[in-house]
C-alpha cells in the first residue's frame, strides 16, 4: 500500500473537516483529502487545534504541477497520537496561483513555502518573507513547472519561457552544448545582439 503505516484515512479526515468547515472539502480519497485553496488555512487551523487530529507538526509541504492546476500538498503529523494526515489544496488558477500561507499556523512553513514559490511559482498570501530561495530575484522562470524544459528535454528550437538560446547552442562542441537553454539575460533581442557581437569579437 502506498499509504504510510500510520496515515489516517482521507474519508475520515474529510468528514470531520466538512462537519466543522462547510464547503471546504472538494474531494475525498483513501489517502488524502482535497480542500479549496482559499480555505486551506482554516483547514490547517482546524486540524492543528482539534483534539482528535492534533496535527501539531507540518512535516512536509510541497507542490505538484498537474498542467491545468496545481496541487499544494501538506503532510501533517501528530507526535502524541502518532498519525499522519495528508491535505491537498487544489489551486485552479494555473496562470496566477495564489493561496493563503500556512505560516500563521505552522512556523515550519517559512522556508518550505519560499521553496515552493521559488521553484513552482505559487504565491502564498500572508507569508512574512516571500522571496526566491535558491534562485535569484528576477529569474524569469519557475523550473519545476511542467512547461519548463530541462536540459535533456530541450530539442530543436525549443526555448524556455523568459530564457534565451544563443546561436552557438547549435554547435556540436560538447563544452558549449553544456550551456544550452538556460542562460538568463534581459531582452531576447538585446541578448542575441550581444552574443552576436561577442562571437564576432572572438
Amino acid at each position: 500500500m502506498p499509504a504510510g503505516p500510520n496515515q489516517l484515512l482521507g474519508h475520515r479526515v474529510a468528514d470531520a473537516i466538512e462537519a466543522a468547515l462547510r464547503g471546504a472539502v472538494t474531494g475525498r480519497h483513501v489517502e488524502w483529502v482535497e480542500v479549496r485553496s482559499d480555505r486551506v488555512r482554516d483547514v490547517l487551523h482546524f486540524l492543528h487545534d482539534s483534539e482528535a487530529f492534533d496535527a501539531a507538526q507540518l512535516s512536509n509541504l510541497t507542490s505538484v504541477d498537474r498542467h491545468t492546476h496545481f496541487e499544494v500538498v501538506y503532510h501533517l503529523q501528530s507526535l502524541d497520537l502518532n498519525h499522519q494526515i495528508v491535505v491537498k489544496a487544489i489551486v485552479e488558477d494555473h496562470e496566477n496561483p495564489l493561496l493563503p500561507s500556512a505560516y500563521p499556523v505552522y512556523k515550519g512553513a517559512l522556508l518550505q513555502e519560499r521553496e515552493v514559490y521559488d521553484l513552482m511559482g505559487i504565491r502564498f498570501e500572508g507569508h512574512p518573507d516571500l522571496r526566491r530561495l535558491f534562485l535569484w530575484e528576477g529569474y524569469p522562470a519557475y523550473p519545476l513547472r511542467k512547461d519548463f524544459l530541462s536540459l535533456g528535454q530541450i530539442t530543436g528550437k525549443d526555448v524556455n519561457p523568459g530564457l534565451v538560446r544563443f546561436p552557438f547552442e547549435d554547435t556540436e562542441d560538447p563544452d558549449r552544448m553544456l550551456n544550452a537553454g538556460n542562460i538568463v539575460t534581459g531582452e531576447r533581442e538585446a541578448a542575441a545582439g550581444n552574443a552576436g557581437q561577442a562571437q564576432a569579437g572572438h
Partner: protein, 377 residues
Amino acid sequence: MPARRRQGTNVNSTVEPYVLNIGPQHPSTHGVFRVRVVMDGEVIRDLDMIVGYLHRSMEKLAEERTYTQNIPFTDRADYLAAMSGNLGLALGIERLAGVEVPERASYLRVIFAELQRIASHAMANGTLVSDAGAWQTPLLYMFREREKILDLFEMTCGARLTTNYMRAGGVSFEPPPEFWPALKELVAELPGRIDEYMELLADNEIFLGRTRGIGVITPEDAINGSLVGPALRGSGVPWDLRKAEPYCVYDRFDFDVPVGIRGDVYDRFMCRMMETRESVRILQQAIAQIPAGPHKNDIPLALRPPVGEVYSRVEGPRGEVGFYLVSDGGPAPYRFHLRAPSLINLSLLRELARGASLPDAVVTLGSIDIVVGEIDR
C-alpha cells in the same frame, strides 16, 4: 594616535548598526552557506540566510530519470549521510511499486544506516566543538572512527561518500568476508571511544560555558517549526521515526531515544553522543541476528510503478528524510520531492539569532547540523 589607542575603546560611543556578511566560504557555515547579519555592536539584530550556491535542481532532473537512476542523487543531497538518503528513496520506490525485500537486505540496511549515523554524528559533533573554539583537535579525534566506517563502506560498495548502495528490492552488494571481522572490531571499540569523548567534552568547563543556555529552543517552537532529529529531541520531544514508524527491521531491536531537557546547544550535542551509543547497541543486535539469504530481489530494470503517490520517510542523522514520489505509471517519477531536514531545521534560525552574540549564533548553527548539499539540492 598610538597613545590614544592604548587607552582602549570608548565604551560610550554609539555605533550605527552595520551589516556583516559571513560566507559563502567560511568555516563556521559548514559549506557554501551564506548569512548576512545586522549587527548592533556585538549583538545580532537581524539575520538573513542566502542559500542556493549548491542548487543543482535535483527535483527537476529526477523527473527525466528512472527511479533507480535517481538513487545516486540522494548521495549528493546529504553527502554526509548518503546511506540514509539511499534508504529513504529505496523504501519509497518499494512501497510505490510493491516490491518485497529479503530479510537479510533489511538487516544490511539497518547496519549501514546506523554506521552512517555514527559517522555523521561524529562529523556534526566534531565541527560543533570546533565552532565552540576547540579548533580541529576533537574533530580529528572523531574522524578516526569516521574513517573506519568509511573504510567499511568502501570495501562493501566501492565508495566512501557517494555510496549508491541501496536498491529497490535490497542492497547492491553483499559485504565481503573481511567486512564482518572489521565491523565487529569497530563495534567493540566504539563504546570506549565514546567514553573518551564524554570524558574530554561533557564536563569541560570551556565547552559548557560556550554551549549551556545558548540557542534555547522550546519544545512548542521545535514542533511548530517542523524541527526534526536531534534538533527536536534536544528540546525534550521523544520523536524518532525508528520508534514511531518502524521501517526495515527496527522494531526487532532494543534501543532508547535520548532526549534533552533544556533544548540548548549542549543538549543537542549530548543527544548526538547518546544516539551514537544507541546505534552501537542496534549494531550489536543486528550483527547477532542477521540471517543468511539473498541480499537483493530482482526487479524489472524499467520499473513502472502504478499511478499513485507515496511519502516515504526515514530517520536520518539530521532527522526525517522524506521522499514524496508521484507516479503517472511511467518509468520516471512525475514529481520527486526530497524533504530536506537540513533546510527545514533552519526555520527558526532567524528567531534564535536575534539578540544573540555572533559567536553564540555560530555555535547554534553548528548544533543544528546542516549539510548544504541537502539544503540546496
